[in-house]
């Protein structure tokens, strides 16, 4: 595991990721804040428990690859990359600005630590298959993670990738799907009923776990089990998360795919997040 700041708890990491995301959201006044708050615990465990990387050398050959297919979740990943010291904190205020390294939609060419260009949803798992095959060819011990969204479960390309990962028995591939029950047109199951997910991925040859994606301890166990699983098969961690987790008045908003937050509400949200701070 990465040897940085082992004295800081994972929940504190998650809290700081939420804080970074809120501060970036405030720059734009609106955006994909609810996703970032919802997936913060998953990212905290990914970046501060499960993944090997060197903050000063984002392209270090021995790193685990962490692919974000969901371009609009960039705000969440930037928040984690800032906490991981891959991106300097003082750039946070440039989120979505002209000339920034932190564009609204995540792109590999713009940001250190951003492995792929997301945004056209449904690319990540297939690219992860290719990288997993390549790492095996190179004799690498690194894992490939792909964080994707429940909306991406609608795309055929995701299932093409899932089938091939099973067929190739890619035991160096770990899929993480953020089931936040939200898509552009509303709640996910109303858009397309993709359940039941566990038997679906199992039928495609995966080692599958389904966890509360806002429970840090459960996530730690799931990531450990995924990394140490004996079977020659790809691993899927289905994370049920809550949109806007940690800020109750934002959790309560119904249409939160693209959240509008009033100017005075940012400070209020930050106050709620800071109340959970560990000195």
């Amino acid at each position: 595991m990465t040897e940085i700041g082992h004295n800081v708890s994972l929940s504190e990491r998650a809290r700081r990721i939420r804080r970074n995301a809120l501060r970036m959201g405030e720059v734009q006044g609106q955006g994909y804040i609810a996703q970032a708050l919802g997936v913060a615990d998953v990212l905290a465990v990914s970046y501060f428990h499960a993944t090997n990387y060197r903050p000063q050398d984002p392209e270090w050959e021995g790193r685990d690859r962490f692919l974000l297919s969901i371009g609009h979740y960039a705000i969440a990943l930037y928040a984690a990359l800032i906490e991981a010291k891959i991106i300097p904190e003082d750039e946070l205020g440039t989120y979505g600005m002209d000339d920034s390294r932190l564009p609204m939609s995540g792109m590999a060419a713009y940001t250190p630590g951003m492995e792929i260009t997301g945004g056209s949803l449904g690319h990540g798992l297939g690219i992860a298959v290719g990288m997993s095959l390549a790492l095996k060819r190179k004799g690498s011990k690194s894992f490939v993670y792909n964080l994707f969204s429940d909306g991406e479960l609608d795309e055929g390309s995701t299932w093409e990738a899932a089938m091939s990962a099973g067929s190739y028995k890619l035991d160096n591939l770990i899929g993480i799907v953020d089931v936040n029950q939200m898509q552009a047109d509303g709640p996910s199951l109303g858009v397309m009923n993709f359940e039941p997910l566990v038997p679906k991925f199992e039928a495609f040859g995966w080692f599958v776990q389904r966890v509360d994606g806002n429970d840090v301890d459960a996530l730690v166990k799931a990531f450990d089990a995924a990394r140490h699983h004996e079977g020659a098969q790809p691993r899927m961690i289905i994370c049920d998360t809550k949109m806007a987790k940690g800020v109750p008045f934002l959790e309560a908003r119904e249409r939160n795919h693209f959240l509008r937050v009033e100017p005075h509400e940012w400070a209020e949200a930050l106050k709620i997040i800071d109340a959970g701070a560990v000195a």
């Binding site: 720059v27 734009q28 006044g29 609106q30 371009g71 300097p88 003082d90 750039e91 205020g93 440039t94 989120y95 979505g96 600005m97 002209d98 000339d99 920034s100 390294r101 564009p103 609204m104 939609s105 792109m107 060419a109 713009y110 940001t111 250190p112 951003m114 260009t117 997301g118 945004g119 056209s120 949803l121 449904g122 909306g151 991406e152 609608d154 795309e155 055929g156 898509q183 552009a184 047109d185 509303g186 109303g190 858009v191 397309m192 693209f258």
Partner: protein
């Protein structure tokens, strides 16, 4: 040119409280601050037409809300089909419904219809001449999200598809007229959508949309601007500016990109020794500009000069839309200065 991702944007840091342009909403409007607009002209027009035409059904791929089809869905909930974020399925399902006598109107973003679903539109829909209407938001450079959402080459791709009619409307007035014309037209149509609060421009010129027809919106002796889509709005604004400097610019609006109204284009280009400028919200490759150029060449028509206002053959940058329009030559000011420069050559 963008810097390496390992070089920090120092000029953005420590710049005090100077306000900066941000990419902001996906919903970025192309309307100017004081411009009259109409909300969701596509959604309202289609919903009203469906009252009288039971063949019309609506399908979207998790983008009803972002393509104004939610207006249709609210008016006719039982005739709306949510296909999930699955653009290939969207096109196949529309083909299936069209085979059974319905007229499916399907919506997504232009990037996803063109890049992801091309094969399905081509073979399942166009080759069979099925009555499917494909309406796509975010054409060309109408979002600052970067290449994943900027449909810079959709027209180039779709022009290559036999049987497909391609419409690139300019404003709300035109969308309201184009939608009924597309309902009446039998066969597959691709329409570029302007969504949300859409500028109203062409009503002031007494313009009427006719499918397949280019229309001269204003006449002028010095230069002929041939344009489609939102670039017609820019061309008209530029013509007003140029007038102040004594430059007389004509604007020929070509909303139907395919089939192209070659007769009108040739007739206009034969008139006088004018500089011909084609302005389009699309890459310089394979769009209206090259279509017009080939038409002129094939008919031995030589304007005084031929120039293009179009996007470069590049993946575009992310940023605020006004910044990008200026950077890539789409702002009225940039159109004016480009034309003046060419007239001085």
């Amino acid at each position: 040119m963008r810097r390496s991702k390992y070089i920090r944007p120092e000029h953005l840091l420590n710049n005090g409280d100077r306000p900066r342009l941000t990419t902001s909403a996906m919903i970025a409007s192309i309307a100017g601050p004081d411009q009259p607009t109409k909300p969701a002209p596509f959604g309202h027009t289609l919903a009203a037409l469906a009252d009288r035409d039971p063949r019309i059904v609506g399908l979207s791929a998790d983008l009803a809300k972002y393509t104004d089809l939610h207006i249709f869905r609210a008016a006719h909930p039982d005739r709306f089909y949510q296909m999930g974020m699955a653009e290939q399925l969207l096109m196949m399902a529309a083909a299936g419904m069209a085979r059974e006598g319905f007229q499916p109107w399907v919506t997504t973003y232009a990037v996803f219809a063109s890049r992801r679903a091309y094969d399905f539109i081509c073979l399942a829909i166009a080759e069979e001449m099925l009555d499917v209407k494909i309406v796509c938001a975010l054409p060309g450079l109408t979002t600052g999200y970067g290449p994943s959402h900027q449909a810079t080459e959709d027209i180039a791709m779709f022009r290559g598809m036999p049987n497909l009619t391609i419409i690139d409307p300019c404003d709300a007035h035109e969308i309201e007229q184009a939608v009924p014309a597309i309902v009446a037209h039998k066969g597959p149509v691709y329409m570029r959508l302007l969504r949300g609060n859409v500028p109203l421009v062409l009503d002031e010129y007494g313009y009427e949309f006719e499918l397949g027809k280019a229309k001269l919106i204003r006449d002028g002796r010095d230069t002929l601007i041939i344009s489609s889509g939102l670039m017609t709005m820019r061309a008209l604004e530029a013509a007003k500016e140029l007038q102040k400097d004594g430059v007389d610019a004509a604007v020929l609006h070509v909303p139907t990109i395919k089939p192209l109204d070659e007769a009108t284009i040739l007739a206009e280009c034969r008139r006088g020794g004018r500089l011909v400028v084609v302005a389009e919200n699309h890459t310089v490759i394979g769009g209206l500009g090259e279509a017009v150029a080939a038409t002129l060449m094939r008919s031995d028509v030589r304007p005084a000069a031929f120039r293009q206002i179009a996007l470069p053959d590049q993946f575009l940058e992310a940023g605020a839309l006004p910044t990008l329009h200026d950077q890539y030559g789409f702002s009225t000011g940039k159109v004016v200065s480009a034309i003046k420069g060419w007239l001085d050559e």
